[in-house]
Every structure is written in structure tokens, then in C-alpha cells.
Subunit: 163 residues, 2 copies
């Protein structure tokens, strides 16, 4: 796919989620503040996972719009409720990622170095989607597979030998 086409698609996604946010705010009688749109836009600019602090610094250095941490915390909860952002809890701090037009993926987490790698698996995806739950309306899910990445496997062996 051509580069320019990719950019155009990204813009479409941004427009769409902006629209979705507007609808959500209207439906809930909440205000359409510039902060909320700026935060949503930034989130859909970032690829992959991010934490609140990262988001804060990204927006600050980007210079387009400055918001306080408190507003980030408030807004991210709103965006999670609006199903525009997904929340994860990998390590100490919460991690987030965009929810709309984001390919479902699973996570491998290295227990040695904490590195998080995404991967796709169609049959796994289907197995989870086909699972019927009692007394529960599922909206989304997270699968975290813990283990040791190849890099750390070697580091660990060296470490054990030297002891």
C-alpha cells in the first residue's frame, strides 16, 4: 500500500473516532471540550501502548495542546467508557491503547525484562470469540502470555552459570 494512502486512512480513522466521541458526549449530556478532542487525537496518533505519563509528555512536547494530568486521567476513563480506548495493566502503571480499528492481538510478556510483544493468531481469536459466558456481557478481552523471551533466555543461562 502506498504511503500516502496509509496516511489518508489514518486521517479517516481520526475523523471517525472524533465523530464517535461527539455522539457519546451528546448521548450522555457531556461537554465537547477541546481538551477531550485533543487527547483523543493524540491517542490515535500514537501507535501501540502508552501510559498516562507518556501521553502527558507527548502532548507537552508536541506543543499543540497542553492538558493537566488530572484531565488526562478523567478523559481516559471517559474514553474507555466510550469504547474508544482499551485499558491494560501490564506492570505497575496502567497502559492504554486505541480501541477503534485496532487489530485484535494478544500479548507476550517477558517476566525477565518486562518487554511486551504483540502477536496475532486467528484460531485463538476465534476460540475466545466463540466462548459463551453466563450472566455476563463481554465487550473486549486481553490475553497475556507470560514467559521468557529469547534474549533473556540466554542472559539467564549466563547468569546461572556464573553463580
Amino acid at each position: 500500500m502506498a504511503f500516502e494512502q496509509k496516511i489518508r486512512m489514518e486521517e479517516n480513522v481520526k475523523d471517525t473516532v472524533r465523530q464517535l466521541l461527539t455522539e457519546y458526549l451528546q448521548a450522555n449530556g457531556q461537554r465537547k471540550t477541546p481538551e477531550r478532542y485533543a487527547i483523543l487525537d493524540t491517542i490515535y496518533t500514537i501507535k501501540g501502548h502508552f501510559g498516562i505519563d507518556e501521553l502527558y509528555h507527548y502532548m507537552e512536547s508536541n506543543g499543540k495542546f497542553r492538558v493537566s494530568r488530572a484531565t488526562l486521567y478523567n478523559t481516559i476513563i471517559l474514553l474507555v467508557d466510550a469504547n474508544l480506548v482499551i485499558k491494560h495493566q501490564f506492570g505497575t502503571s496502567s497502559q492504554y491503547e486505541r480501541a477503534y480499528k485496532n487489530e485484535t492481538h494478544h500479548h507476550m510478556i517477558c517476566t525477565e525484562c518486562g518487554k511486551v510483544t504483540e502477536f496475532q493468531d486467528e484460531s485463538l481469536k476465534q476460540a475466545i470469540a466463540n466462548t459463551k459466558l453466563k450472566k455476563f456481557t463481554a465487550t473486549h478481552y486481553s490475553l497475556y502470555i507470560y514467559g521468557v523471551c529469547s534474549k533473556c533466555t540466554w542472559a539467564k543461562r549466563r547468569k546461572k552459570k556464573s553463580k
Copy 2:
């Protein structure tokens, strides 16, 4: 199964994990302190998930052995490394559960009230176990399905109506 038999099985599990801890400590040249065994024992007495604070108060009120929070944090990391405890990150604070002889299960998490419910699903379990990962040695996994529990579904409807 008779009640007494269950108790006996539980005791066997405790003995086994104590043994496993001993082996782990020996293999890594670490000390066999009474604190470590007391903490392991307590964890395998608790059924289900627990946080550090819960564990702290449980041990305190139980009166058998008093340990500091710092030691709990240190020891739980050790036990996770020894594959005797599994770490989760549901909400703000870390949650843990015993790893040995604990039926693999999945988690449903209500995004409204935060309630965590466990469930079993054999085909899901197999689908995950059969997934091949590149450059990664998996030890265990966690599947969290987010959504709204039946209780909160009703509460939410009432709330929306009243708005």
C-alpha cells in the same frame, strides 16, 4: 469427596510446595528463612485471589507469624520466580494466587463494579495451550474478559433512565 480427605489433600499440597520452595532456594543459593515458609503456607491456605495488604492483615490476625510488608513484597517476587505464585494486575493493586495444583481458569472482570469471576472452559484452555509462539518460552498465561456482569447491567439501565 469426604471433608477429611479434602483436608488431607490440602496438606499434601502444602508439603509439596514447601518442598519445591526448598529446592528452589537451594538451587539459587538463598536462605531458608521461617518467614518464607510462613508466607508460602499462608498463601496456600487462602483460596482465590489476594493482595499484599490482605495477605499482611491475614497473617497478622492469624497470629502465627508476623512479617513486614517489605518482606512480603520481597518474598512474593521470589515465589513468582519459583512458579509457586501467579501475579495478576486487575485493578490498582497487584493481585496474586497460588500456582501449584490450581486449576487453570479464566477471568471475567466487570468494568462497572470491578468484580472478578473465574470460569473454566476446556476448549479455550486447549486452544491457548496449542498456540505456538516464536522466540518465546511460555510459562503461564492470563485471559481477562472485560464486560458488564448481570447485576451491573440492571443498575446501568436504571441509571440511564434516571438521567
